[in-house]
Amino acid sequence: MPRQLFEAMIAGSGRYELVKSIRSADMADLVCGYCKVDLILMDVLTELGASGLSAAGRIKRRFPAIRIIIVTSMPEVSWIQRARDLGVDSFWYKEVNEEPILSIMDRTMRGEHVYPDEAPVVKLGDALSSDFTDREIEILRELITGDTNQEIADRLHLSLFTVKDYIKKLLLKTGLHSRTELAVKISQAGIVINDRQLIEPD
């Protein structure tokens, strides 16, 4: 759902007033500092590669009273938990969630935290995204960086043999033929997305 549709929906709701609609999440906390904002509908992947989750974290630290709903269509498995950890109030899947966004907004403003039980399940080769363990997801996330097995092992504090073993198991699980194919398919499916280029702030 593009931003303009959200704008039209809010304008037509009768109970919400649009303060500002911006393209890049990186600028959201600036707007919050300048305008009176009660609720933010924040996409995760925004213009200029800005991460809505990072922006939500900054806003929650500076303006804890502002309620935030993360909206996304990507089935990335870690976002729900990350959003919870950052204190985001609600989470909405654009394509999958049957409840309309206005209802989610109303419930969030009433103090509810509306979260889906899990990310949408996506098929990857012979496996489903729900079949992967947390560690396997971690390995998949490292695979899409294009780094060598040794670099992945160093980063995750594992042995090289363990990393290779995980990759072998993932290939067996998915029925794919090579780690490159696995990395590309994972990226295309959106099960893991590398949305953190920079180091995490203290």
Partner: protein, 475 residues
């Protein structure tokens, strides 16, 4: 007859040398001499094999005994035909009385002992390699061996090393005569045509004209108080071929990894663009439905929507029409910044292309824009801001400048600026703040794989400059 036989045996048993026929005497002398020669041979073999002295002593004793025996028989025989004097006479008298049978038995015993000596020698040689056999073995090793003294004089070179010297230097190692010459020639590249020195680390590696690759390992060690130099040559042709194959494959893998990394880094944008594209497709379909509904209304069809039902659809379609227009990535990027700076009351001008930045550079750029916009608005009361992006050799320079109040004294970096500095330095770059006529924040980010060599001075964070505006009027 029995008595005759007994008598003959008796005569035989008690016959002394003086009674023996000449032919018998001569035969014994010949036999003894033969035994002497054989024992000399055994002695020399023991000497050659460098066996313990006791073996040589045994041989010597036997030789001595046989020599005395031969001499005695000779003089005993001479005494029969002419007088002899001195020790010869004494020896002759002794040996004349020697029993013939005893003499034959002694000679037989000596002959049998030869069998024992030769058997023992044969077993020894079978179990212990000789110098020659060691040399032969080393000559046929596939490894080249060379040993030389401190001054370069050759100690030992096997056949393989000699062949290598001929291929590399054009002459035999023995013609070269000096072990150090071989090493020096390889290091200095003074090799025959077609031979090529390959730089493969501390070991000397040479590719010969026949495309075989040899690696030379050098070391020195002590034997007693003398220093000996050792050179071992290994044929690593197959290993070299595999190494080159692996090197090429590794290069291909790094390229694939680079493409994968690039794909992953751009995945966020690609995903976002895909979302927008999907939305546009949806919008297009919706526009189609509205047009069809309008057509039915205009045609007065039975199931046509009413005017009141059509109006909100058209309003929605107008909104969607704006969505369908895509001014392009760069303009979208610029608008992302401008829409917020306008809200804050700051007029911002951007030079350079935001879309030319890599994902990491873009994140740092946006972080810098956020911080400088925020500070310009909250603390400096700025009305204009200039941002420039310059791609240079080795990296990218981003400058943020505003016309707001310049802070006096030392700038204390708050959470935002210190976070920005941390991210910049983590990316291998450098950040500097200059205050003068204008506040200027400069970030330099090196190209991936290169680190910043302190372009702005590693210890100086701040400096006062003339504050020339990047663009725009002098303030």
């Amino acid at each position: 007859m029995y008595e005759d036989f007994n008598r003959n045996i008796h005569i035989l048993l008690y016959r002394t040398l003086i009674d023996c026929p000449v032919i018998f005497i001569k035969l014994c002398m010949f036999w003894s001499s033969l035994l002497i020669l054989v024992f000399i041979h055994i002695g020399l073999v023991n000497l050659y094999l460098r066996r313990p002295w006791k073996y040589f002593l045994h041989t010597l004793l036997n030789l001595l005994g046989l020599y005395i025996l031969v001499q005695g028989i000779y003089f005993a025989d001479r005494l029969r035909v002419e007088p002899v004097e001195g020790y010869a006479r004494a020896a002759a008298i002794v040996f004349q009385r020697m029993n013939a049978v005893v003499l034959v038995l002694v000679l037989l015993l000596e002959s049998l002992s030869l069998v024992f000596y030769y058997t023992e020698l044969w077993n020894y040689v079978a179990k212990h390699p000789t110098v020659r056999s060691i040399k032969e073995g080393l000559d046929y090793l596939p490894t080249g061996l060379l040993y030389y003294w401190e001054d370069g004089a050759l100690m030992f070179a096997n056949l393989e090393m000699d062949l290598l010297a001929q291929k590399m230097l054009g002459r035999s190692i023995y013609a070269v005569g000096n072990g150090m010459t071989l090493e020096k020639s390889i290091r200095e590249g003074k090799l025959s045509e077609g031979c090529q020195f390959m730089d493969r680390g501390p070991q000397l590696t040479v590719k010969l004209a026949d495309q075989k690759v040899w690696q030379f390992h050098m070391r020195e060690f002590l034997i007693g108080k003398w220093t000996v130099h050792e050179v071992l040559a290994y044929d690593i042709t197959e290993e070299n071929r595999l190494h080159e194959e692996v090197y090429i494959q590794y290069g291909e893998l790094r390229k694939i990894a680079g493409r994968l990394r690039h794909y992953s880094e751009n995945m966020r944008e690609l995903t976002h663009e895909e979302e927008v594209l999907q939305a546009k497709i949806q919008v297009h379909d919706e526009i189609g439905r509205v047009m069809l509904a309008t057509k039915r209304y205009l045609a007065g069809a039975q199931d046509a929507p009413t005017r009141e039902e059509l109006l909100p659809l058209w309003q929605r379609m107008i909104v969607l029409h704006h969505t369908a227009q895509d001014p392009g990535k760069e303009e979208n990027a610029v608008r992302s910044l401008l829409e917020v700076s306008e809200l804050l009351g700051i007029r911002t001008e951007i030079s350079g292309k935001i879309t030319s930045l890599t994902p990491v550079e873009r994140e740092i750029f946006m972080m810098g824009a956020r911080e400088t916009l925020s500070n310009a608005c909250r603390h400096a009361g700025a009305q204009h801001m200039w941002i420039s992006i310059m791609k240079e050799d080795g990296g990218t320079t981003i400058k943020y400048q505003n016309d707001g109040k310049v802070p006096k004294g030392e700038i204390i970096e708050g959470g935002g600026l210190s976070g920005l500095r941390k991210q910049t330095e983590h990316a291998g770059g450098h950040m500097a703040i200059a205050t003068g006529n204008f506040f200027i924040l400069t970030i330099f980010l090196p190209e991936r794989g290169k680190t910043d060599a302190g372009k702005y001075g590693s210890t100086e964070k701040y400096g006062t400059v003339g504050g020339t505006a990047i663009s725009g009027p002098d303030c």
